[in-house]
């Protein structure tokens, strides 16, 4: 009998307690955002689409080697002085935004950008080509010497 009464008391009291919490929430402002009109501020370290600043790229292929899903394609032509980078492409279909490619880069030219909304209808469009005409790979030492000379 005592249990019966306490049970009923428990039931009612917990229901009212719950209602109280719910009522408190009713007065709170919604926390949702109206994407895409409203956007949240991206943190500095946000890992968005990988970007390569080609003029500073030494075409050392370290990034391609570090990538766990092999989605960086680098092609080269020629030897020694005539070496040219003919292709630097990233296949974002495969990229898992892990940032492993950015760590070994000697010139820090490959970075995680803040872009993220690049939805497309065709998969081919997610293979980004960074090199048009063949480019001469960046030589950090030479660049440093030139800078010194200028100064």
């Amino acid at each position: 009998m005592v249990k019966f009464v306490t049970d009923i008391w428990d039931t009612f009291s917990t229901v009212f307690k719950g209602m109280g919490i719910t009522a408190r929430y009713m007065r709170k402002k919604p926390v949702t955002q109206q994407f895409p009109e409203e956007r949240w501020a991206l943190p500095d370290r946000f890992r968005g689409f990988v970007h390569n600043d080609v003029p500073r790229c030494t075409s050392c292929t370290l990034c391609a080697k570090a990538c766990p899903v092999d989605c960086i394609y680098i092609e080269m032509e020629g030897k020694g002085k005539d070496r040219r980078m003919t292709r630097f492409a990233i296949d974002y279909n495969k990229c898992i935004w892990c940032s492993l490619c950015t760590e070994p880069c000697p010139t820090n030219c490959i970075t995680m950008s803040h872009d993220y909304d690049h939805s497309v209808y065709l998969r081919e469009k997610l293979v980004y080509e960074f090199v048009g005409d063949p480019v001469i790979p960046f030589k950090p030492k030479k660049a440093a010497r030139e800078e010194e000379a200028e100064a």
């Binding site: 049970d7 428990d10 039931t11 009291s13 917990t14 229901v15 307690k17 719950g18 919490i21 719910t22 929430y25 926390v31 943190p43 500095d44 370290r45 946000f46 890992r47 370290l62 080697k65 570090a66 990538c67 766990p68 898992i96 935004w97 892990c98 940032s99 492993l100 760590e103 070994p104 000697p106 995680m112 950090p140 030492k141």
Partner: protein, 576 residues
């Protein structure tokens, strides 16, 4: 200690012991296949060893050897925290005697070895494929199975056999009250209904399938099928460098990716005997506990949704959002964090981290308080949860349970306390335990664990002192950039680390940590090259889910859903 265990085993088994080793503090003994069962039984029952928990059964393939496969039983004693591995070597096609009569957890674990290596187990009650499709040809983890070879499989597996459906009542000890009618045997089956729960059902929280034989609303028998999310984590690992595996560990338990990241690097560092700086260690503890809090928030929240308490889910997800904001600012991603590195971390904490985290933890505590107030004594919730999916301590251990689900039965076993790693011995926290091992206790255990984790995070924040986050060890850490530019050794070191990868010394080891669901283990075999020879994950929810059939037998369908939610099955981790 492990040496003494080896002596006990050697004196009991005698001439059938082929080899013993106590590498990295774990006793490992190789026995002849004929003595395997005897050895396992001895390890389980001997009062000095008491290996009551079978962690995992592991296969390793050495194609150049006549006895091609290693089958390894990895055990742990709950009382001493000690680990013992019993190994046997068999040729292709040679059967291994099953251990499923000793531990229920051996059932699925052996099926996995059978599936991926093709090692048959004699007297196994249910030797079928488990992770790959039943039409799959070959065995995926054998070294000669090409990694890129896919197969098309179409026909879904029929889990319950015709016989089980037809003779369900007799087989599972239910007699129907049909005193008023004379029924033909043929007709009996028509009263039982088979229903598929899943593979894509919102209440299964991941792709898994349960085929249940129902008598009205009551489940009289069920079988589960997993593997829908099998992504060949272990096969892929053998094709990647050690560092490249880190992003893949995010995707094991994607709800607590941080905890997994930490578990994996700890295992590799154990193999290499690397000490990380104090700051790195503290941050790792901190983020691992954050992962645990986030995991429990999701688990409890979704479990409550399954029972019908939707608002709690929003309250928890709102709190989790605050934590995710901090995590995102810390490592740039919310879910797939990849935050740790072998020998260090991806980045140091950012400025203002502590204030933001304290603020977020305050929000989490607020949410937990609200949810506790809403459900703890709530009549509807208690009616749905008390006594549902209950399991006894002995059964839970026999099924290989660990983590909050085991603690809900009253066993105060936590890897962080039993065999501390990564500095946990210096933190002050309690292990909450339940009593009955039912859904209700699991929810309350997890809630209390969150409070404990918040305590650990606060302690870790108080200890944070400025300092390096990377180990100085040049075997794992890239040299600073100016060294790369200006010295030939630095450059060689840098290129070698990227092109050849980190070189883990040859040998085998078992690294473990307390994941959000229980003991998360990484069994590693290295041949000294830049890629792992074999990595075997011990996902905590694999043994837990293997007992699901037993847990829900005789319960209603809706109770099965409540039970499933409380077990916190993460399909990514279950299927790897």
């Amino acid at each position: 200690m492990s040496r003494r265990a080896l002596e006990h085993i050697a004196s009991e088994i005698g001439a059938d012991v082929v080899e013993t080793s106590d590498e990295l503090g774990d006793a490992s003994v190789t026995v002849r296949p004929s003595a395997l069962h005897r050895t396992l039984e001895f390890c389980r029952d001997d009062p000095r060893l008491r290996c009551d928990l079978l962690l995992d059964v592991i296969g390793v393939d050495y194609p150049d050897r006549a006895e091609r496969f290693d089958v390894i039983y990895s055990m742990r004693s709950l009382s001493t925290g000690e680990r013992v591995r019993v190994k046997t070597r068999v040729a292709d096609g040679e059967p291994v005697s099953t251990a499923s009569d000793l531990w229920n957890s051996a059932n699925w674990a052996e099926r996995e070895v059978y599936d991926l290596y093709g090692v048959p187990f004699s007297d196994h009650p249910d030797l079928r494929r488990i992770l790959t499709h039943h039409e799959f040809k070959g065995h995926a983890l054998r070294k000669d199975y090409p990694i890129e070879k896919g197969q098309m499989c179409y026909v879904p597996e029929k889990l319950l056999t015709d016989e089980e459906i037809r003779f369900g009542p007799q087989l599972y000890g239910r007699t129907m009250d049909r005193s008023d009618a004379v029924v033909e045997e043929e007709e009996i089956s028509s009263d039982y209904l088979t229903v598929n729960l899943g593979p894509s059902h919102p209440a299964t929280h991941g792709a898994l399938r349960i085929e249940a034989l129902l008598d009205g609303e009551t489940i009289i028998h069920s079988k589960s099928e997993i593997g829908y999310l099998h992504r060949c984590f272990e096969k892929e690992s053998e094709d990647h460098t050690w560092q490249q595996i880190i992003p893949y560990t995010d995707r094991l338990n994607y709800v607590s990716a941080l905890t997994n990241n930490v578990g994996y690097v700890l295992a590799v560092e154990k193999m290499m005997a690397i000490e990380v700086p104090e700051r790195c260690q503290t941050i790792r503890v901190l983020v691992a506990e954050l992962g645990r809090i986030m995991d429990h928030l999701v688990c409890v929240g979704t479990n409550l949704v399954d029972i019908g308490a939707l608002t709690n889910f929003w309250y928890f997800f709102n709190a989790r959002e605050h934590l995710y904001t901090v995590v995102e600012r810390m490592c740039g991603e919310r879910l797939t964090t990849s935050y740790t590195r072998i020998g260090g971390l991806y980045r140091d904490l950012y400025e203002g981290f502590e204030d933001e985290l304290r603020h977020s933890l305050g929000k989490v505590e607020e949410a937990i308080g609200e949810v506790t107030a809403l459900v703890q004594r709530n009549r509807i919730f208690m009616d749905r949860a008390v006594g549902i999916g209950a399991i006894s301590q002995e059964d839970a251990i026999n099924w290989g349970w660990t983590g909050p689900c085991l603690r809900a039965t009253g066993v105060d076993y936590d890897v962080r306390k039993a065999s501390p790693y990564g500095g946990y011995e210096t933190y002050d926290f309690d292990i909450p335990v339940g009593e009955n091992g039912d859904v209700y206790d699991r929810v309350l255990c997890r809630i209390e664990e969150m409070y404990q984790s918040i305590g650990i995070v606060n302690q870790a924040m108080d200890r944070l002192k400025p300092g390096p986050i990377f180990s100085e060890d040049r075997r794992v850490t890239m040299p600073p950039k100016d060294e790369v530019y200006n010295s030939i050794e630095g450059m060689m070191n840098h290129f070698k680390l990227v092109f050849e990868g980190i070189q883990v010394p040859a040998g085998e080891g078992y690294g473990f940590s307390e994941g959000a669901n229980g003991e998360l283990g990484f069994f590693i075999v290295s041949d000294g090259s830049g890629n792992p020879y074999r990595i075997k994950v011990r996902p905590p929810c694999f043994p837990i889910f293997s007992s699901f059939t037993e847990l829900v037998k005789g319960h209603m369908v809706s109770d099965a859903i409540a039970t499933l939610g409380g077990l916190n099955i993460i399909a990514g981790e279950l299927d790897r």
